[in-house]
Amino acid sequence: MGESVSVFSPSLLSDAWELSSSVYKSQYVNCSYVRSVIRSNLVVFAFRGSLIPNSATKYGEYQVKDGFLDGVKDGNNQRASVHQGALSQFEDIWSRSDFQKQVIEDHEKGNTIVFTGHSMGGGIAALATLRMLEKQRQPKSVFCITFGFPLIGDEILARGVRRKKWADQFCHVVLRRDVFSRILLAPSISVSKPLEVLLPYWNRSMQSRADSVGSTDIPMAEAPPGGIAEFVATVVQHCSAVSNYTSAAKMSPNNPLIAAVKPLVKLSPYRPFGYYLFCSSSGAILIENHYAVLPILYFSLQTLGANLEDFILQHVNYGYILPNSLQNIVKLSELSDLPLSDAGSVHQDSRITTQLDALGLGIQNCPARLALRAAGQVLKQQSENLSILEKEYPKKMETPMDKLEEYRLQCLRNDTGYFDAFKKKQRGNVDFQANLNRLELAGWWDEIIQNKFDKDELPDDFQCKKEWVTRGTHYRLLVEPLDIANYYRLGKNEDSGPYLTHGRPRRYKTLQKWLENYEEPLQSPSTKLIQDSCLWADVEELACSMQKNEYKDEKRIDLENRVRALTDSHGLCVEDLMTGESTFKTVVNWLWKQMTPVDQEASALRSIIYHPQQTPQI
């Protein structure tokens, strides 16, 4: 199945497994990782880790601090959380200079690097991969393959991975009944007792198998500990809670009951990121749709007709099962049309039907099928919404944007900046038309941001798409000054407070954040605009102070800082600021008179006042 798995070929997966299991050998007992050059230009690092009990938080989660995953934050600048045990083990290894040096050296030589690991070692491998990904700029050269990986990162991390398009660099191999790969969905305390016995058991099993590789006498398999029924039930129940919660929220996004219950129950924060390969003894299914992973983790773990010991044994049985299952990998896409009935299954690829049945996701498990369909529908809807926007943009938005550009130029020809023209008391037809264009654009962007973007109805990487960041930035830089003008023209600052703290529409805040998080340079628009859309708000606040004759140094310094930042980045458009009797000119002249000569000498405003295009005003 070469076509389905591009980088993660069956042979690479087997190699990764071999190295991952070899770290359990007694000879490596004091090493936490093993390095191996599989082929030329391909270096694999395998980690060994363990699940460290942690009771500081309900699920052992921990919010990462500065220096790691800095670029991964949510809309409120919240940082991602990861499992603390995994993080501390990773940091331990990373801070050992020989490891870090080795990785960086291998990487700089142009090698492709694969981090891999079994069990919690997979968690460490995932963190190592993230660490390298946030540093690297060149095309994809760092990958991660895990076996029996417990989810270790929260929604913020998962979203960050999708936005940055890293998802295809992770492949998590999970056996149908490997209970460990779901264990962090249950609260630490609910499984801590049985794990005291199970963790050493799993470790012993892996070690004895690793040590026996190559020798002829196969070790006696140790029987798994007893009393596991309740443990398994606990894990499945918590999988059910998380999976049904996410399914219900997708199927009925505005359900008030779900919204009300959410803050009352603390579900596991961990969410899947990257691709998943779900394996049974007869084959494997590759899942790229992250929404489908939680339902599969739950429904394939359901216990009906299963041998309870399997749930424990499968965590250490990858070596037995993988050789078969990797022979037969199928990719599951188009989940929104997954058949529900026998009649529908006729048209399905029979290999997919077989694999779904082998994972307990056959048509008799109707709730599972519906959950997978819902997962598919979300992605389908997102891309449909995007293509609608792509189609609408030129039709609806380009004309008003062009008209506002023209309005700006026309104002300049009439010897006034468009900010002051728009603000003046006696407005003419031209200003009024500009106002209509402003309203039209505001309605459209509000619709995109509040009704689509905020509700997750657009693809995750929408805010990272170059053309949309460009469009949003152009809109913000051109039109926000008009919103500011309107705000102060109507005296809303008296009713509500300053624009920046009390009046700035959310569309502008969001659009600004998109630009700040965008990492590549944008193509510059045809006209040069002031690159800080909020400059006018500071100017207006100073104009208010001027009217009351309340000079304050801090406010002046705020403005100077803004101007300096703009000058340094060549983001200033002097004609917008200084044409005619502009508010900016009046305010700056007033400030200039209040300043001491020393202040004047150092002031960022100096370069504007003495700008070559302008005759000095004082």
């Binding site: 059910s240 049904n244 009935s341 006696q426 309203l439």
Partner: protein
């Protein structure tokens, strides 16, 4: 392409219920309800940062049996000040609740430290508050419902209370349901009902038919719950159960088949139960559970779930007795099913929605073959989907209408700045230059008329009229455009007729009512006095008052009437100016208002040469300019 945009793609009833059961919140709530049975009034325990407040199941049983009305219903404000007058139906009549439940709640409010203990969870001055869940089983569930409503009415910004009941009898009537829906509080109530439990259905029947068997059974349940004794009900109890079920079934069928508001109902023949379900019901069967939140559908399901089995009647009698106190094991069983796997009937449809409905019907024990039940669920889903599609479309239209609003604002501005005339007086002349404004006025009027019509036909979500977005948009529209409607009216009627009594359109009345209702729920604290005059006169009927005052003044001069109404008008204007609720255009020299003022001043001064009044002071000094 999509088959029909009004057919939902999915239904989440089964997933939501499985989530609620698996996440443990229901089991925890049940545990707390059981513990409360050892208390005399209520219990309060914190668990994982959430306060669980539980009420005993069968406390003060004698208080629950009330005989005053046919179904035990009465005004929610009876004998207490804990509930506000805002709890009323769409017809403005007060909500009714079961008086027995109300008495039990009032007992706890007035005779225990409950209110004092709730203080720290409901102190609006705190930055953060711990969330509360009120829980209760049986009659305790009814008390929990009222306690939740009591806290919801505090409208805390920090958190809102949640309510979980088990086997709870009906509490409120249709107006109660409407009040909860209008406030968007339905999501805060979660009622767990087992397939055969008789208690949630018993108030379908008039109280006289259930009071006697109930008095016999309640103490028996109480002893089973508290002592955990397992002994079989004796023949006396069994007979009471048989009577109770028999009497209840007589009524559930009628309601399920005809609904409570069926037009066939003729007054006097039989007064049907006034009670209505509200919030989300979680129906549990031996197989699974599913959530249903449409009130009508819940009503029907309460009947169909009870009668679904083709089993001996005696078994149902036994179950309707036993299931009422078996919620612990019912929940446990559903969890076990979700851990192993649910067996479902062989699927025969490729529609996610249809399959979801079948799963729900199986989960609640009705069975996917029940066509009536399937249709009822479909209708509810269709309605809900239609409502949200409608509101989404209206939102897009509303933003397009902003341009018409801006045109009218600009029209107003041009009238004032270029022609020194108020837009009201200008529009009244119906000159050529006002034609555009008239088109916009008509267009906006049609837009809002359509909204009001959809709302009256229940085609919009039930909390539509309390959503800030629509109230603000409606108020902005009314203040800007109603003056033009008034001008149009007086232009067309040539001075005959009174706009206020005969000419005002329903849309303006409704929009004003929505705004006023919302303002009652807002605390008055945050409002500061205006420093400047409003940009639009706050009372959109101001100009109609002016027109009437002008007519009154003419009549007064001809001695047809006394000056009382004119004095009142003067007082009304004075207050508006003092509050800053009037806009400055009113004082333009040519305005109708100034015309009235000059005539009134002249009249008054003719009568009393040294006449003065607060308004006189304001107008002479032009102190309205501030």
């Amino acid at each position: 392409m999509e088959s029909d945009s009004s057919t939902p793609l999915f239904t989440a009833g089964q997933e939501t219920a499985t989530f609620l059961v698996s996440c443990g919140i229901l089991s925890k709530a049940w545990e707390e309800s059981c513990l409360a049975n050892y208390s005399q009034s209520y219990t309060l325990n914190e668990y994982e940062g959430v306060a669980y407040v539980a009420f005993p199941s069968f406390h003060k049983i004698e208080g629950f049996i009330v005989q005053e009305s046919k179904y035990g219903e009465g005004n929610i404000q009876a004998d207490n000040k804990f509930f506000s007058g805002l709890l009323k139906g769409n017809d403005d009549q007060p909500a009714l609740v079961h008086q027995g439940a109300l008495k039990l709640f009032l007992y706890i409010m007035e005779n225990t430290d409950f209110q004092a203990k709730m203080q720290i969870y409901t102190d609006s001055k705190q930055r953060k508050l711990k969330p509360i869940i009120f829980v209760g089983h049986s009659l305790g569930g009814a008390v929990a419902t009222l306690a939740t409503l009591w806290v919801l009415e505090k409208r805390l910004r920090q958190s809102s209370p949640f309510c979980i009941t088990f086997g709870c009898p009906f509490v409120g009537d249709v107006r109660f349901h409407e009040a909860v829906a209008c406030e968007n509080w339905a999501g805060n109530f979660c009622h767990v009902v087992s397939q055969h439990d008789v208690v949630p259905r018993m108030l379908f029947a008039p109280f006289e038919y259930i009071a006697e068997p109930l008095t016999a059974i309640l103490p028996h349940w109480q002893s089973l719950m508290v002592n955990g004794s397992k002994h079989e009900p004796d023949s006396f109890i069994q007979d009471a159960c048989r009577t109770l079920l028999h009497n209840v079934l007589q009524y559930t069928g009628t309601v399920a088949n005809y609904g409570l508001n069926s037009p066939t109902e003729s007054e006097g023949v039989i007064k049907r139960s006034p009670y209505r379900p509200f919030g989300t019901y979680i129906f549990c069967s031996g197989e699974a559970a599913a959530c249903i939140d449409n009130s009508d559908t819940v009503l029907k399901m309460l009947h169909w779930t009870l009668l679904s089995r083709e089993e001996p009647y005696d078994n149902i009698i036994q179950d309707c007795f036993l299931e009422h106190i078996a919620y612990g094991s019912i929940l446990k069983h559903i969890i076990e099913k979700s851990i192993s796997e649910r067996k479902s009937a062989k699927p025969d449809s490729e529609s996610s929605y249809k399959m979801g409905l079948s799963l729900q019907l199986e989960a609640i024990g009705v069975g996917a073959q029940n066509d009536y039940a399937q249709i009822a669920l479909q209708m509810a889903g269709y309605m809900e989907c239609k409502q949200s599609t409608n509101v989404a479309n209206l939102a897009i239209e509303l933003s397009e209408k902003q341009c018409s609003m801006a045109e009218l604002e600009w029209y107003k501005e041009r009238c004032e700045k270029q022609d020194d005339i108020t837009y009201y007086d200008s529009f009244k002349k119906h000159d050529r230059k006002d034609i555009d404004a008239n088109l916009r006025r008509e267009r906006l009027g049609r837009f809002w008329d359509d909204i009001i019509e959809m709302w009256e036909n229940h085609e919009l979500p039930s909390d539509f009229q309390s959503q800030n977005k629509w109230i603000n948009a409606g108020t902005a529209y009314r203040r800007l455009v109603e003056p033009l409607d008034i001008a149009h009216y007086y232009h067309m009627s040539m001075g005959e007729g009174n706009y206020l009594s005969d000419g005002r359109s329903i849309r303006h009345k409704v929009l004003q009512k929505w705004m006023e209702e919302k303002e009652k729920t807002r605390s008055s604290r945050g409002q500061k006095a205006r420093t400047k005059l409003a940009s639009l006169t706050q009372d959109s009927c101001f100009w109609a008052h002016v027109e009437e005052a002008l007519k009154d003044l003419e009549n007064l001069k001809q001695q047809h009437q006394c000056s009382e109404r004119l004095e009142m008008f003067e007082g009304y204007v004075t207050k508006m100016i003092n509050d800053g609720n009037i806009s400055a255009d009113v004082f333009l020299e040519t305005s109708s208002f100034m015309e009235w003022w000059n005539k009134w001043k002249e009249y008054k001064q003719n009568q009393f040469p040294d006449w003065s009044s607060p308004l006189y002071g304001i107008m002479e000094n032009e102190s309205w300019k501030r």
